[in-house]
Symmetry: C2
Subunit: 216 residues, 2 copies
Protein backbone atom coordinates (compact mmCIF):
# COMPACT_ATOMS: atom_id res chain seq x y z
CA UNK A 1 0.00 0.00 0.00
CA UNK A 2 1.33 3.42 -0.84
CA UNK A 3 0.60 6.33 1.41
CA UNK A 4 0.50 8.89 -1.37
CA UNK A 5 -3.18 9.66 -0.95
CA UNK A 6 -3.17 9.88 2.82
CA UNK A 7 -3.22 13.35 4.33
CA UNK A 8 -0.18 14.13 6.45
CA UNK A 9 -0.93 13.96 10.12
CA UNK A 10 2.33 15.26 11.54
CA UNK A 11 5.28 17.44 10.60
CA UNK A 12 5.87 21.16 10.48
CA UNK A 13 2.89 23.04 9.01
CA UNK A 14 5.17 24.94 6.58
CA UNK A 15 6.65 21.71 5.10
CA UNK A 16 5.50 20.89 1.56
CA UNK A 17 2.91 18.12 1.30
CA UNK A 18 4.76 14.85 0.65
CA UNK A 19 3.66 12.19 -1.82
CA UNK A 20 5.27 9.09 -3.37
CA UNK A 21 5.80 11.06 -6.57
CA UNK A 22 7.45 14.01 -4.84
CA UNK A 23 9.68 11.81 -2.66
CA UNK A 24 10.75 9.66 -5.62
CA UNK A 25 11.58 12.66 -7.81
CA UNK A 26 13.70 14.16 -5.04
CA UNK A 27 15.53 10.83 -4.53
CA UNK A 28 16.30 10.54 -8.28
CA UNK A 29 17.54 14.13 -8.29
CA UNK A 30 19.75 13.47 -5.25
CA UNK A 31 21.35 10.40 -6.89
CA UNK A 32 21.95 12.29 -10.13
CA UNK A 33 23.52 15.21 -8.30
CA UNK A 34 25.66 13.37 -5.77
CA UNK A 35 25.73 9.67 -6.60
CA UNK A 36 23.94 6.69 -5.21
CA UNK A 37 25.84 6.44 -1.95
CA UNK A 38 24.70 10.00 -1.11
CA UNK A 39 21.10 8.74 -0.96
CA UNK A 40 20.27 8.35 2.72
CA UNK A 41 16.91 8.91 4.37
CA UNK A 42 18.43 11.87 6.29
CA UNK A 43 19.82 13.50 3.12
CA UNK A 44 16.53 12.94 1.32
CA UNK A 45 14.58 14.60 4.16
CA UNK A 46 16.93 17.61 3.93
CA UNK A 47 16.48 17.71 0.15
CA UNK A 48 12.70 17.76 0.61
CA UNK A 49 12.91 20.36 3.39
CA UNK A 50 11.14 18.15 5.91
CA UNK A 51 12.04 16.43 9.17
CA UNK A 52 13.16 12.78 8.81
CA UNK A 53 10.09 11.75 10.85
CA UNK A 54 7.82 13.30 8.21
CA UNK A 55 9.60 11.29 5.50
CA UNK A 56 9.27 8.07 7.53
CA UNK A 57 5.50 8.65 7.66
CA UNK A 58 5.45 7.92 3.93
CA UNK A 59 8.30 5.53 3.17
CA UNK A 60 9.46 2.96 5.69
CA UNK A 61 13.08 2.47 4.55
CA UNK A 62 15.59 2.75 1.73
CA UNK A 63 14.51 -0.56 0.18
CA UNK A 64 10.98 0.73 -0.33
CA UNK A 65 12.42 3.93 -1.75
CA UNK A 66 14.52 1.96 -4.29
CA UNK A 67 11.38 0.13 -5.44
CA UNK A 68 9.63 3.47 -5.94
CA UNK A 69 12.61 4.78 -7.94
CA UNK A 70 12.67 1.63 -10.07
CA UNK A 71 8.96 1.88 -10.78
CA UNK A 72 9.23 5.60 -11.50
CA UNK A 73 11.76 5.05 -14.31
CA UNK A 74 10.34 1.76 -15.60
CA UNK A 75 6.94 3.42 -16.07
CA UNK A 76 8.58 5.37 -18.91
CA UNK A 77 9.42 2.14 -20.79
CA UNK A 78 7.01 1.18 -23.54
CA UNK A 79 6.30 -2.56 -23.73
CA UNK A 80 2.85 -2.33 -25.33
CA UNK A 81 4.05 -3.95 -28.58
CA UNK A 82 4.24 -7.36 -26.88
CA UNK A 83 0.44 -7.51 -26.97
CA UNK A 84 0.07 -6.73 -30.66
CA UNK A 85 3.24 -7.53 -32.63
CA UNK A 86 5.53 -10.57 -33.19
CA UNK A 87 7.96 -11.24 -30.31
CA UNK A 88 11.07 -10.02 -32.16
CA UNK A 89 9.57 -6.71 -33.30
CA UNK A 90 8.20 -6.15 -29.79
CA UNK A 91 11.56 -7.01 -28.20
CA UNK A 92 13.28 -4.52 -30.50
CA UNK A 93 10.86 -1.71 -29.61
CA UNK A 94 11.10 -2.55 -25.90
CA UNK A 95 14.92 -2.53 -25.99
CA UNK A 96 14.95 0.91 -27.66
CA UNK A 97 12.51 2.40 -25.17
CA UNK A 98 14.33 0.75 -22.22
CA UNK A 99 17.74 1.98 -23.36
CA UNK A 100 16.46 5.53 -23.88
CA UNK A 101 14.85 5.62 -20.41
CA UNK A 102 18.10 4.62 -18.69
CA UNK A 103 20.32 6.70 -20.95
CA UNK A 104 18.42 9.62 -19.34
CA UNK A 105 19.12 8.16 -15.88
CA UNK A 106 22.43 6.34 -16.28
CA UNK A 107 23.42 6.80 -12.63
CA UNK A 108 20.43 4.63 -11.71
CA UNK A 109 21.63 1.69 -13.86
CA UNK A 110 23.77 -0.01 -11.19
CA UNK A 111 20.95 0.38 -8.64
CA UNK A 112 18.21 -0.94 -10.89
CA UNK A 113 20.31 -3.91 -12.00
CA UNK A 114 20.22 -5.35 -8.46
CA UNK A 115 16.84 -4.20 -7.06
CA UNK A 116 14.18 -6.94 -6.65
CA UNK A 117 11.06 -6.15 -8.68
CA UNK A 118 8.45 -7.41 -6.17
CA UNK A 119 6.48 -4.46 -4.79
CA UNK A 120 7.03 -2.33 -7.94
CA UNK A 121 3.66 -2.66 -9.73
CA UNK A 122 4.60 -1.07 -13.09
CA UNK A 123 7.83 -3.07 -13.22
CA UNK A 124 6.10 -6.38 -12.47
CA UNK A 125 3.44 -5.60 -15.09
CA UNK A 126 6.17 -4.83 -17.64
CA UNK A 127 7.98 -8.16 -17.11
CA UNK A 128 4.67 -10.03 -17.18
CA UNK A 129 3.93 -8.57 -20.64
CA UNK A 130 7.45 -9.29 -21.91
CA UNK A 131 7.36 -12.89 -20.62
CA UNK A 132 3.90 -13.50 -22.07
CA UNK A 133 4.96 -12.07 -25.44
CA UNK A 134 8.07 -14.26 -25.65
CA UNK A 135 6.10 -17.36 -24.62
CA UNK A 136 3.41 -16.62 -27.19
CA UNK A 137 6.21 -16.26 -29.76
CA UNK A 138 7.33 -19.82 -29.11
CA UNK A 139 10.13 -19.48 -26.53
CA UNK A 140 10.18 -22.42 -24.10
CA UNK A 141 9.51 -21.63 -20.42
CA UNK A 142 13.04 -22.41 -19.30
CA UNK A 143 14.65 -19.96 -21.77
CA UNK A 144 12.33 -16.95 -21.47
CA UNK A 145 14.16 -15.34 -18.55
CA UNK A 146 17.58 -16.00 -20.11
CA UNK A 147 16.42 -14.09 -23.20
CA UNK A 148 15.00 -11.28 -21.06
CA UNK A 149 18.13 -10.95 -18.89
CA UNK A 150 20.51 -11.18 -21.87
CA UNK A 151 18.68 -8.38 -23.71
CA UNK A 152 18.42 -6.37 -20.51
CA UNK A 153 22.16 -6.71 -19.81
CA UNK A 154 22.90 -5.40 -23.29
CA UNK A 155 20.40 -2.55 -22.82
CA UNK A 156 21.75 -1.47 -19.42
CA UNK A 157 25.36 -1.65 -20.60
CA UNK A 158 24.38 0.45 -23.61
CA UNK A 159 22.68 3.01 -21.35
CA UNK A 160 25.96 3.34 -19.42
CA UNK A 161 27.85 3.70 -22.70
CA UNK A 162 25.48 6.49 -23.78
CA UNK A 163 26.91 8.53 -20.88
CA UNK A 164 30.55 7.97 -21.96
CA UNK A 165 32.51 11.00 -23.21
CA UNK A 166 33.08 11.23 -26.99
CA UNK A 167 36.84 10.94 -26.56
CA UNK A 168 36.76 7.75 -24.45
CA UNK A 169 38.76 5.76 -27.06
CA UNK A 170 41.01 8.58 -28.33
CA UNK A 171 44.65 7.48 -28.25
CA UNK A 172 47.82 8.67 -30.02
CA UNK A 173 48.34 6.75 -33.29
CA UNK A 174 51.95 5.93 -32.38
CA UNK A 175 50.80 4.12 -29.25
CA UNK A 176 47.99 2.10 -30.82
CA UNK A 177 47.88 2.49 -34.60
CA UNK A 178 45.04 0.05 -35.39
CA UNK A 179 42.87 1.37 -32.58
CA UNK A 180 43.45 5.01 -33.63
CA UNK A 181 42.54 4.06 -37.22
CA UNK A 182 39.23 2.30 -36.42
CA UNK A 183 38.25 4.96 -33.87
CA UNK A 184 38.92 7.61 -36.54
CA UNK A 185 36.77 5.68 -39.03
CA UNK A 186 33.61 6.23 -36.99
CA UNK A 187 33.95 9.98 -36.58
CA UNK A 188 30.87 12.02 -37.46
CA UNK A 189 28.14 9.83 -36.07
CA UNK A 190 26.53 9.15 -32.70
CA UNK A 191 28.94 6.38 -31.66
CA UNK A 192 26.85 5.08 -28.75
CA UNK A 193 23.72 4.91 -30.89
CA UNK A 194 25.55 3.16 -33.76
CA UNK A 195 26.99 0.51 -31.41
CA UNK A 196 23.58 -0.01 -29.82
CA UNK A 197 21.87 -0.39 -33.19
CA UNK A 198 24.49 -2.87 -34.45
CA UNK A 199 24.36 -4.81 -31.20
CA UNK A 200 20.58 -4.98 -31.05
CA UNK A 201 20.26 -6.08 -34.68
CA UNK A 202 22.88 -8.74 -33.95
CA UNK A 203 21.15 -10.00 -30.79
CA UNK A 204 17.78 -10.17 -32.58
CA UNK A 205 19.23 -12.05 -35.56
CA UNK A 206 20.93 -14.50 -33.18
CA UNK A 207 17.73 -15.00 -31.18
CA UNK A 208 15.66 -15.65 -34.32
CA UNK A 209 18.19 -18.29 -35.43
CA UNK A 210 18.14 -19.89 -32.02
CA UNK A 211 14.35 -20.07 -31.83
CA UNK A 212 14.19 -21.49 -35.38
CA UNK A 213 16.64 -24.21 -34.37
CA UNK A 214 14.46 -25.03 -31.32
CA UNK A 215 11.18 -25.43 -33.23
CA UNK A 216 11.07 -28.39 -35.61
Amino acid sequence: MTSSEQPRRRGRPTAPLLSQEKITSAAVELIELRGYSALTMAALARQLGVAPSALYNHVSNKHQLLRWIQDHVNREIDCSDFEVRPWDAALEAWAHSYRDAYARHSLLVPVIAVTPIAGSPHTVAMYEKVAAGLRAGGWPDDQVMDVVVAVESFVLGSALDAAAPDDIFDVPADQAPVLARVVGARVGRDAARAAFDLGLATVLAGLRDRLRALTP
Copy 2:
Protein backbone atom coordinates in the same frame (compact mmCIF):
# COMPACT_ATOMS: atom_id res chain seq x y z
CA MET B 1 55.15 8.49 -16.44
CA THR B 2 54.16 6.76 -13.23
CA SER B 3 55.90 7.63 -10.00
CA SER B 4 55.77 4.12 -8.61
CA GLU B 5 59.51 3.61 -8.76
CA GLN B 6 60.49 6.99 -7.34
CA PRO B 7 61.57 7.07 -3.72
CA ARG B 8 59.32 9.23 -1.53
CA ARG B 9 60.92 12.53 -0.75
CA ARG B 10 58.40 13.96 1.72
CA GLY B 11 55.74 12.81 4.18
CA ARG B 12 55.80 11.46 7.69
CA PRO B 13 58.57 8.92 8.21
CA THR B 14 56.17 6.45 9.87
CA ALA B 15 53.77 6.44 6.89
CA PRO B 16 53.84 3.30 4.74
CA LEU B 17 55.71 3.59 1.47
CA LEU B 18 53.24 4.50 -1.27
CA SER B 19 53.21 3.02 -4.76
CA GLN B 20 50.80 3.04 -7.70
CA GLU B 21 49.82 -0.53 -6.82
CA LYS B 22 49.17 0.25 -3.15
CA ILE B 23 47.22 3.43 -3.90
CA THR B 24 45.11 1.70 -6.56
CA SER B 25 44.27 -1.28 -4.35
CA ALA B 26 43.19 1.06 -1.54
CA ALA B 27 41.01 3.07 -3.96
CA VAL B 28 39.31 -0.11 -5.28
CA GLU B 29 38.73 -1.24 -1.70
CA LEU B 30 37.25 2.15 -0.76
CA ILE B 31 34.81 2.07 -3.69
CA GLU B 32 33.77 -1.49 -2.89
CA LEU B 33 33.20 -0.64 0.77
CA ARG B 34 31.47 2.71 0.45
CA GLY B 35 30.56 3.35 -3.18
CA TYR B 36 32.12 5.43 -5.90
CA SER B 37 31.07 8.84 -4.58
CA ALA B 38 32.96 8.07 -1.34
CA LEU B 39 36.21 8.05 -3.32
CA THR B 40 37.85 11.41 -2.67
CA MET B 41 41.56 12.12 -2.44
CA ALA B 42 41.08 13.03 1.25
CA ALA B 43 39.24 9.78 2.04
CA LEU B 44 41.86 7.79 0.15
CA ALA B 45 44.70 9.43 2.10
CA ARG B 46 42.90 8.49 5.34
CA GLN B 47 42.44 4.92 4.08
CA LEU B 48 46.16 4.70 3.34
CA GLY B 49 47.08 6.30 6.67
CA VAL B 50 49.04 9.14 5.04
CA ALA B 51 48.68 12.89 4.78
CA PRO B 52 46.90 14.13 1.61
CA SER B 53 50.15 15.85 0.57
CA ALA B 54 51.93 12.46 0.56
CA LEU B 55 49.22 11.05 -1.72
CA TYR B 56 49.49 14.04 -4.09
CA ASN B 57 53.22 13.31 -4.42
CA HIS B 58 52.21 10.17 -6.33
CA VAL B 59 48.90 10.86 -8.07
CA SER B 60 47.96 14.30 -9.29
CA ASN B 61 44.15 14.05 -9.19
CA LYS B 62 41.11 11.80 -9.23
CA HIS B 63 41.20 11.45 -13.03
CA GLN B 64 44.66 9.91 -12.90
CA LEU B 65 43.48 7.65 -10.09
CA LEU B 66 40.54 6.43 -12.20
CA ARG B 67 42.92 5.54 -15.02
CA TRP B 68 45.04 3.52 -12.57
CA ILE B 69 41.93 1.73 -11.31
CA GLN B 70 40.82 0.98 -14.86
CA ASP B 71 44.22 -0.39 -15.78
CA HIS B 72 44.42 -2.40 -12.57
CA VAL B 73 41.20 -4.33 -13.36
CA ASN B 74 41.69 -4.51 -17.13
CA ARG B 75 45.09 -6.13 -16.61
CA GLU B 76 43.16 -9.19 -15.36
CA ILE B 77 41.34 -9.52 -18.72
CA ASP B 78 42.81 -12.09 -21.10
CA CYS B 79 42.79 -10.96 -24.74
CA SER B 80 45.72 -13.08 -25.92
CA ASP B 81 43.52 -15.23 -28.19
CA PHE B 82 43.18 -12.37 -30.67
CA GLU B 83 46.75 -13.03 -31.78
CA VAL B 84 46.32 -16.76 -32.38
CA ARG B 85 42.67 -17.71 -32.98
CA PRO B 86 39.86 -16.68 -35.37
CA TRP B 87 38.13 -13.39 -34.44
CA ASP B 88 34.92 -15.01 -33.17
CA ALA B 89 36.61 -17.57 -30.90
CA ALA B 90 38.89 -14.80 -29.57
CA LEU B 91 35.93 -12.47 -29.00
CA GLU B 92 34.14 -15.21 -27.06
CA ALA B 93 37.15 -15.88 -24.80
CA TRP B 94 37.70 -12.12 -24.28
CA ALA B 95 34.03 -11.58 -23.35
CA HIS B 96 34.17 -14.39 -20.76
CA SER B 97 37.36 -13.09 -19.19
CA TYR B 98 36.08 -9.47 -19.26
CA ARG B 99 32.76 -10.41 -17.68
CA ASP B 100 34.44 -12.44 -14.94
CA ALA B 101 36.85 -9.58 -14.10
CA TYR B 102 34.02 -7.08 -13.64
CA ALA B 103 31.68 -9.54 -11.93
CA ARG B 104 34.38 -9.52 -9.22
CA HIS B 105 34.34 -5.69 -9.22
CA SER B 106 30.77 -4.80 -10.20
CA LEU B 107 30.80 -1.48 -8.32
CA LEU B 108 33.51 -0.33 -10.74
CA VAL B 109 31.34 -0.99 -13.82
CA PRO B 110 29.67 2.46 -13.96
CA VAL B 111 33.06 4.15 -13.46
CA ILE B 112 34.89 2.15 -16.10
CA ALA B 113 32.10 2.62 -18.64
CA VAL B 114 32.82 6.35 -18.80
CA THR B 115 36.59 6.62 -18.13
CA PRO B 116 38.76 7.58 -21.14
CA ILE B 117 41.38 4.91 -21.86
CA ALA B 118 44.28 7.21 -22.83
CA GLY B 119 46.98 7.04 -20.18
CA SER B 120 46.06 3.46 -19.15
CA PRO B 121 48.77 1.38 -20.88
CA HIS B 122 47.31 -2.12 -20.30
CA THR B 123 43.86 -0.94 -21.36
CA VAL B 124 45.14 0.71 -24.55
CA ALA B 125 47.16 -2.44 -25.37
CA MET B 126 44.05 -4.59 -24.85
CA TYR B 127 41.91 -2.53 -27.25
CA GLU B 128 44.72 -2.46 -29.79
CA LYS B 129 44.81 -6.29 -29.80
CA VAL B 130 41.02 -6.57 -30.00
CA ALA B 131 40.82 -4.04 -32.86
CA ALA B 132 43.66 -5.74 -34.77
CA GLY B 133 42.05 -9.16 -34.31
CA LEU B 134 38.67 -7.99 -35.61
CA ARG B 135 40.25 -6.22 -38.56
CA ALA B 136 42.32 -9.29 -39.42
CA GLY B 137 39.07 -11.28 -39.24
CA GLY B 138 37.56 -9.16 -42.01
CA TRP B 139 35.60 -6.48 -40.15
CA PRO B 140 35.65 -3.15 -42.00
CA ASP B 141 37.33 -0.22 -40.23
CA ASP B 142 34.11 1.70 -39.68
CA GLN B 143 32.38 -1.19 -37.87
CA VAL B 144 35.18 -2.47 -35.62
CA MET B 145 34.43 -0.10 -32.73
CA ASP B 146 30.67 -0.68 -33.00
CA VAL B 147 31.34 -4.42 -32.58
CA VAL B 148 33.70 -3.78 -29.65
CA VAL B 149 31.30 -1.40 -27.88
CA ALA B 150 28.25 -3.61 -28.48
CA VAL B 151 30.02 -6.66 -26.99
CA GLU B 152 31.40 -4.55 -24.16
CA SER B 153 27.95 -3.15 -23.33
CA PHE B 154 26.61 -6.69 -23.10
CA VAL B 155 29.59 -7.76 -20.97
CA LEU B 156 29.33 -4.84 -18.52
CA GLY B 157 25.55 -5.23 -18.18
CA SER B 158 26.10 -8.94 -17.51
CA ALA B 159 28.71 -8.14 -14.86
CA LEU B 160 26.13 -5.94 -13.10
CA ASP B 161 23.58 -8.74 -13.39
CA ALA B 162 26.03 -11.18 -11.80
CA ALA B 163 25.72 -9.07 -8.63
CA ALA B 164 21.89 -9.23 -8.60
CA PRO B 165 20.22 -11.17 -5.77
CA ASP B 166 18.78 -14.60 -6.67
CA ASP B 167 15.24 -13.46 -5.86
CA ILE B 168 15.30 -10.37 -8.10
CA PHE B 169 12.41 -11.65 -10.27
CA ASP B 170 10.43 -13.48 -7.58
CA VAL B 171 6.78 -12.37 -7.64
CA PRO B 172 3.53 -13.90 -6.35
CA ALA B 173 1.89 -16.06 -9.06
CA ASP B 174 -1.46 -14.31 -8.61
CA GLN B 175 0.12 -10.96 -9.52
CA ALA B 176 2.08 -12.11 -12.57
CA PRO B 177 1.29 -15.73 -13.48
CA VAL B 178 3.39 -16.02 -16.65
CA LEU B 179 6.40 -14.34 -15.08
CA ALA B 180 6.19 -16.56 -11.97
CA ARG B 181 6.03 -19.62 -14.24
CA VAL B 182 9.06 -18.79 -16.40
CA VAL B 183 11.09 -17.65 -13.38
CA GLY B 184 10.23 -20.95 -11.69
CA ALA B 185 11.34 -22.85 -14.81
CA ARG B 186 14.95 -21.74 -14.42
CA VAL B 187 15.37 -22.75 -10.77
CA GLY B 188 18.43 -24.83 -9.98
CA ARG B 189 21.00 -23.19 -12.19
CA ASP B 190 23.26 -20.12 -12.07
CA ALA B 191 20.75 -17.72 -13.65
CA ALA B 192 23.24 -14.95 -14.39
CA ARG B 193 25.68 -17.38 -16.03
CA ALA B 194 22.93 -19.00 -18.12
CA ALA B 195 21.68 -15.63 -19.39
CA PHE B 196 25.24 -14.55 -20.19
CA ASP B 197 25.98 -17.77 -22.08
CA LEU B 198 22.75 -17.55 -24.10
CA GLY B 199 23.34 -13.86 -24.81
CA LEU B 200 26.96 -14.30 -25.86
CA ALA B 201 26.17 -17.26 -28.14
CA THR B 202 23.41 -15.13 -29.68
CA VAL B 203 25.63 -12.08 -30.19
CA LEU B 204 28.38 -14.21 -31.78
CA ALA B 205 25.92 -15.97 -34.12
CA GLY B 206 24.48 -12.60 -35.14
CA LEU B 207 27.96 -11.13 -35.73
CA ARG B 208 29.04 -14.09 -37.87
CA ASP B 209 25.90 -13.67 -40.02
CA ARG B 210 26.54 -9.97 -40.34
CA LEU B 211 30.16 -10.37 -41.40
CA ARG B 212 29.20 -13.09 -43.90
CA ALA B 213 26.64 -10.71 -45.42
CA LEU B 214 29.34 -8.00 -45.70
CA THR B 215 31.90 -10.14 -47.50
CA PRO B 216 30.90 -11.17 -51.02
